[in-house]
């Protein structure tokens, strides 16, 4: 009889810090202590607190351990699992305003989880994603059963419309409406496609859902198939997500085995099957028409819309494309009702949204909050604030298609409409936090550099326009920009925005436009004063030795990788600016604070 479950996170973050090895060792050690009949080790999806990985929870006590190492396993098994003594030194403690760290015995009581509302992620970190029976135990496939036996396709579509669910992939198109368009086409062959080509730098929401709860996505696709009259689905997932691909394929095979995919599901005459297709990692393939072309076996390039995929999509047939997170919401909307879902969120944005928190934030990880939560709550209450006591400067949402949100909008409730109004966008949910050591011009440059690489080259405004824009940003960050360049940049941004063929180009200038709007003073400092206020842009930096403070210890000269520092022992040293590569190694090593960065 199993009395204890040890849940070990098998998400990407924890896996990369050896959590799967910990799970293997745990099983060995449990067996060695003769506890195999009493203790079950479960590998789950992402818990969300990636910064503290590898994490594990021991139930029924609900003890939450963080930063567990392989070496800790014997002690955990002997002390906790055998003798029932919690291993204190590994228990997660919350940092409450710099005072004594507070012990947090249960996950739900932590600041990180307290205000979260997990809908799309509700099984992540709770069930074993490689075991279909655990999914069934938490009401899995009950929504599909209900839809097939009790509802007509029209009722399903109406229910989706009533729920107010909008696409979680970026544009926020109402899901029910999309389904309705496809359902209206009366042709024998239609398709359901799941867009799992998550490409924004710093975004890992869809990855975590696929890794932690793959069956929810399969179930939702089958529901969508029933609603629009499709019998075939494809999941387009990037090959860079090996764990997700593996678990998806395991899930698909198990669902087929249990007759939850395939022919005559629940003896209702409904047939539906799913296959995975691997993407090669092109950002543009997240755009739906490019994704469709790629599934068909062609080079991933977008097509002009209309025709929209709902009318003419995969292999020329009506197709709906839904994002992973959108799909993960659907089984629960069916089971709990559209009113339940619509009761969360704001007027134009119902439900919850998953965000991947990254950058200068204490709790790097995955959070799910009701829409309408403010940025301040996400960053300071859930995210734990900015590390090292630094000051918040901006948050970047929507990845390379989004914009930077300055501190004055910290109290704006986050929803689709509000984010667009303040010059950013929801995007897929990456949220990168920046502090006062981040240079906003450099941030814009970073994202532009990404889009230039990822532009497919089909249309001129995007292919050439983004390249020219990047060159202008390079000019500014190297101290050669003029005020005129700023105006030219703005003009070019608007041109690219209005004339590009697909969303990649249309949104590519957003990082530049939003930083120009909210942080124009930083651009001007680069241009007029030839200075980078955050001290990031290397070409505008200067390291100097203060002669009064320098004791001539020679450490900096020895640390300098390019031999730019010279001077005699016990005499002030000098940096040769023509040789200096601005790496800062001299300053990091100086014991006398004699080196300054200008």
């Amino acid at each position: 009889m199993i009395r204890t479950h040890v849940l070990i996170c098998g998400g990407t973050g924890c896996s990369s810090s050896n959590s799967m090895l910990i799970a293997d060792r745990m099983e060995e050690e449990v067996a060695r202590q003769g506890l195999a009949e009493e203790v079950k080790v479960v590998r789950t999806g992402c818990f969300g607190l990636c910064a503290l990985g590898p994490v594990m929870i021991v139930y029924p006590e609900g003890t939450f351990y963080s930063r567990v190492k392989v070496e800790d396993v014997p002690e955990l098994v002997e002390e906790h699992l055998l003798k029932g003594r919690v291993v204190d030194r590994l228990v997660y403690r919350e940092d409450e305003g710099g005072e004594e760290k507070v012990e947090v015995p249960s996950l739900q009581e932590t600041g990180f989880y307290k205000t979260q509302k997990r809908v799309a992620l509700h099984n992540c970190g709770l069930i074993d994603p490689e075991n279909i029976e655990e999914y069934i135990a938490v009401d899995g496939y009950a929504a599909l059963g209900k839809v097939l036996t009790e509802m007509t396709p029209e009722q399903v579509i109406q229910l989706m419309k009533d729920s107010g669910l909008r696409g979680r992939g970026g544009a926020g198109f109402p899901t029910g409406l999309k389904w309705e368009f496809a359902a209206k086409n009366k042709v024998p062959q239609k398709y359901v496609v799941c867009n799992a080509d998550e490409g924004d730098p710093g975004a890992f929401m869809d990855r975590s859902v696929l890794e932690g709860d793959p069956h929810a996505v399969l179930e939702a696709m089958a529901i969508a198939g029933y609603a629009i009259g499709a019998n075939k689905g494809y999941i387009y997932v990037r090959a860079e997500y090996p764990i997700a691909v593996k678990r998806l394929n395991i899930a698909i095979n198990q669902a087929r085995e249990y007759g939850l995919l395939g022919e005559n599901i629940f003896d209702t005459g409904f047939n539906f099957d799913i296959e995975t297709r691997l993407g090669a990692g092109a950002f543009v393939c997240g755009e739906e028409t490019a994704l469709i072309t790629s599934i068909e076996g062609n080079r991933g390039e977008p097509k002009a819309k209309p025709p929209f995929p709902a009318n003419k999509g995969l292999f020329g047939q009506p197709t709906i494309i839904n994002n992973v997170e959108t799909l993960a919401n659907i089984p629960q909307i069916i089971l709990k009702g559209p009113e339940w879902f619509a009761s969360m969120g704001t007027e134009d944005s119902k439900g919850t949204k998953v965000f991947a928190l990254g950058g200068k934030i204490v709790n790097t990880g995955l959070v799910e909050i009701p829409l309408g939560t403010t940025l301040r709550e996400i960053i300071f209450d859930i995210g734990g604030g900015i590390p090292n006591g630094r000051k918040f400067k901006a948050a970047q949402t929507g990845g390379p298609s989004g914009g930077c949100i300055p501190a004055k909008f910290l109290d704006t409730p986050i929803d689709y409409g509000n984010l667009t109004r303040i010059g950013s966008m929801m995007g897929s949910g990456g949220l990168i936090v920046m502090d006062d050591t981040t240079c906003m011009v450099d941030v814009a440059r970073f994202f532009l550099d990404f889009t230039v690489d990822e532009s497919c080259g089909k249309c001129t405004p995007c292919r050439i326009g983004t390249r020219r824009l990047l060159e202008m940003l390079d000019k500014i960050t190297s101290g050669n920009g003029t005020l005129e360049d700023l105006d030219k940049m703005e003009e070019l941004c608007n041109y690219i925005k209005n004339n590009s063929m697909c969303a990649l180009g249309q949104t590519a200038p957003n990082p530049v436009l939003s930083t120009l709007k909210h942080f124009r003073d930083e651009y001007e400092a680069h241009v007029v004063e030839k200075r980078c206020p955050a001290g990031v842009c290397k070409k505008l930096l200067r390291f100097e030795i203060v002669a009064d403070k320098c004791r001539g210890c020679t450490k900096c000269a020895r640390n300098c990788p390019v031999g730019a520092i010279t001077g005699k022992v016990k005499e002030p040293h000098v940096i040769d600016q023509s040789k200096c590569i601005k790496c800062g190694a001299c300053m990091d090593g100086c014991k006398f604070d004699a080196i300054i960065k200008k």
Partner: protein, 122 residues
């Protein structure tokens, strides 16, 4: 899968196996599992409790372990915590005392006096 009943059957069979992770028990049964407890035979007692709780579908009961409470000579010790009631300490426990405790105390609300520390020590 040919019917909803089939799905429901799997769900029922599996539900108990994941229910453990909800940790929502109002009633806590705590078994002393330090070296002294284990040596005195606490593990069969713990297993009997877990099995009984699961068999009776007592969803609001959590069975967990703890370390040594200091009365090693009276091990195996089992303590029952019910909200708003004084805790009850059972000593010198054996697996065959378990059904009685589950039936009378956990389900019926009346502690089994003869196995408690008061009775055994007196």
């Amino acid at each position: 899968m040919k019917s909803l009943q089939e799905l429901a059957a799997i769900r029922e069979r599996m539900k108990n196996k994941v229910a453990l992770r909800e940790a929502n028990g109002d009633i806590r049964i705590v078994v002393g599992m330090a070296t002294c407890g284990i040596a005195a035979g606490a593990r069969p007692v713990l297993n009997a409790l877990v099995e009984a709780v699961s068999k009776e579908n007592l969803e609001n009961v959590t069975v967990t372990q703890t370390g040594c409470i200091g009365m090693c000579r009276l091990e195996p010790i089992v303590e029952v915590f019910i909200p708003d009631q004084e805790r009850v300490t059972y000593v010198k426990m054996t697996p065959d005392k378990v059904p009685e405790i589950i039936e009378q105390h956990i389900k019926g609300g009346k502690p089994v006096a003869k196995y408690t520390i008061g009775a055994v020590e007196a």
